[in-house]
Symmetry: C2
Subunit: 451 residues, 2 copies
């Protein structure tokens, strides 16, 4: 195998930059080499070389993951898809786009918006994260409460398999049931079942302009009750986000956006039904907020103000990260359990003496309590890890899941074991061994290949 110059990085300082994703709390190792291919055939050749040497290979996009799924492993190669960043085709009639894995989410969204189309999945990392990483983690986002997650948009994948074959799975037609849903299986498999070298995503026509409803609440639990009330009203908002005062303050301190609110939590809702149906949805959301005891709630007539609030939502994580190490939770509970879960999170934070800032895709019950620790405070770090484990247990108690959208990676392996029936874990192992018979694809992540 002869790779073009610049494809393989071997200098220690270069390799160090690819040691881990945003999950700095998870274990990582210095990769033995970093390969940055520019073609699918190069990816295949690298995987074949790893097969023949029994070397682990960890695929990686932009490294914005929050669970350690892209953390390098001992003796392993990191395969960064960052240079495969071409939008290959946008088909307006069949409404799909074909892209390489290194295309940044926002770049795809812009490219298709130019021709009146829309790619919905919008993780908060959309200015940085890549479609390949979004596919590997089955990324969610703000509008997923109405429009679904990454898996709902992937039609076809070109992948390099665990045996070093370059294949296509799925289809580009609107429907198709020819064989098992290997596309769905690969999406969210965090690089453990194959390495994605091309993605065909389904697109939607551009949608009507959204309307925004904002609510201020004196407690997290009251905000949670408003979320359940929106669901009970039969409305499907196109966004329903929660930010607590700490998130707003951190963004403000960084970007000086003038956001400080006299509230413990705010809810940001959007609706996008066309015409008067959208007005009716906005009214119903407003009524739900007021009925749940909002201290102030209104439809936002000011588009700039509304956009600033959603921008703050997107910036909350990096803003909090500036203050010290952040351990990010990602539980998802039934919508009706959101108030109870928010109460449990507050209680756990108090009891473990950990500062917790909460952002949430509240409308689908996906909560991100962020556990904040002062830099260098080892005792606080341990307390945060204790709180992390207790929040997982609480989510499972309430009928939830240990990860709503970030993935299992390394941080949620124990949680996954707690969530799954041992016979289901065994099914995972069997599938993993079937598709990665040499055990080289991102070993140790999600679920170990052997019990």
């Amino acid at each position: 195998m002869l790779l073009p110059e610049g494809t393989v990085l071997t200098a220690p300082e270069s390799r160090e930059a690819y040691r881990h994703d945003e999950a700095e709390w998870a274990p990582s190792a210095l990769p033995v080499a970093v390969v940055r291919p520019t073609t699918a055939e190069q990816v295949r050749d690298v995987v074949r070389l790893c097969v023949s040497h029994g070397a682990p290979v960890v695929a990686r996009g932009a490294g914005t993951g929050l669970s350690g799924g892209a953390n390098a492993v001992e003796g392993g190669v990191v395969l960064s898809l960052e240079r495969m960043d071409a939008v290959i085709e946008v088909n307006t009639l069949e409404r799909y786009a074909v892209v390489q894995p290194g295309v940044v989410n926002d770049d795809l969204r812009s490219a298709v918006a130019e021709v009146g189309l829309w790619y919905p999945p919008d993780p908060a990392s959309s200015p940085w994260s890549t479609i390949g990483g979004n596919v590997a983690t089955n990324a969610g986002g703000v509008c997923c409460v109405k429009y679904g997650v990454t898996r709902d948009y992937v039609l076809e994948l070109q992948v390099v398999t665990g045996t070093g074959e370059l294949v296509r799975v799925g289809r580009r037609t609107a429907k198709g049931v020819a064989g098992y849903d290997l596309v769905g299986l690969l999406v969210g498999s965090e690089g453990t079942l194959g390495i994605v070298t091309e993605v065909t995503v389904r697109l939607r026509p551009a949608r009507p302009v959204e309307q925004t409803v904002v609510g201020y609440f004196d407690s997290l639990v009251a905000a949670g009750e408003a979320v359940a009330a929106v669901a009970a009203a039969g409305v499907v908002p196109s966004a329903l986000e929660l930010l607590d005062e700490q998130c707003l303050a951190a963004v403000d301190a960084w970007k000086n956006m003038g956001l400080r609110a006299d509230a413990v939590a705010i809810l940001l809702a959007r609706v996008d039904a066309p015409g008067s149906a959208g007005d009716a949805e906005a009214d119903a959301v407003l009524a739900a907020f007021e009925g749940a005891g909002a201290s102030w709630a209104a439809r936002s007539g000011d588009r700039e103000e509304a956009d600033a609030l959603f921008a703050a939502r997107r910036l909350a994580y990096p803003a909090l990260e500036r203050l010290g190490p952040v351990l990010t939770e990602d539980v998802c509970v039934p919508v009706g359990a959101v108030p109870a879960m928010l109460g449990r999170i507050e209680e756990i934070g108090r009891r473990c003496d950990v500062r917790v800032a909460t952002i949430a895709h509240a409308g689908d019950g996906n909560l991100h309590p962020l556990l904040l620790t002062p830099p260098g405070d080892e005792a606080a770090r341990e307390r945060a890890q204790q709180a992390f484990a207790e929040i997982i247990t609480a989510a499972l108690d309430l009928g939830g899941t240990v990860t709503g959208e970030h993935g299992v990676g390394l941080l949620k392996r124990e949680g996954l074991e707690a969530e799954l029936d041992p016979a289901v874990t065994a099914m995972h192992r069997a599938v993993r061994r079937a598709l990665d018979p040499h055990g080289i694809l991102n070993p140790g992540k999600v679920v170990p290949a052997q019990a």
Copy 2:
């Protein structure tokens, strides 16, 4: 194992009734026993017994499948889920329903409609087919062009695995990425990876009343051009069905509905955007029909008339079956290729001297040319089989798939082999062996476990 009386059928005439589904053209065998369990534990016990005896087990719902997926195999047991027909829970806040596999599709839809909710997947067989069978085949239907297929609605499954374990996979929360998407893998796996004993489906709020647009066309190809024109106009109709004159005549001859149209093909479109947005959609569909050369097109103000036309669509298959043996195709092509594919189907019918009646979920490119043969005419049967194979080849030529919604079963095994890369077929086999290590689950269907 002690099963209650009446659970096991052994009389030859009873077993004969479970020999095959609607795919009478596919091979079948007389099952050695038919088991009709009433609990998941009984299903588990039957599977364990089959494991210990190495006996094949073929799961079956209502037997309305069209690809032979439920056809009994030599020396095998048929496990009919027909008596497990309870709607266990409808949760209006979280918008899901929990049902046993033997619940008939229309019964689920009625049960959730009573509380203002909607289960979209609506195969033409909805008055008879069961949710278990819908899950096994990933059934589509009329409204799937806008609202997706069965897989898009399954949240959680209780299944008996190939090793005889009774487990739950998936979740009931709105989002979740804890482990591989085993739910998606099981949906559409036609009983080869597990046997479903309970299904939790996602529901939507009831939607606005639909508007109907009808178009008459002097040729199938012109109707196909109208379908592509609707897509090009950026409209997503909630239904876009095609029926040719033979389908209408057959339904009329049976039900005397007064449907006979002076046209070669008709298109039935529905749109469901609320308020004036719906009017705009209907106008755009009408313009697309007229622009493609409809001999007559109109928005249907008469709800009864519109409902009668959609009822005719649903009855087309059984109406044609009354006339003689029917071989049902189920190809799906890109929407832009619909006119070309309809032309190819006509040409193949002429050349092979086979009478072809076509119904189609035209809006998503899913075409069902029905190959009609006179009863007892063996030569016509052979010509129909030749046409069937040629239609599959034509669909693949045009970038399509060999099965849009009916499944592979027995009839599409060769087509599947033609469609998939051999390395992808090998992935299927590996997954199958991983989850059915004893090779007892519906052997010989979809893809053989061994090359």
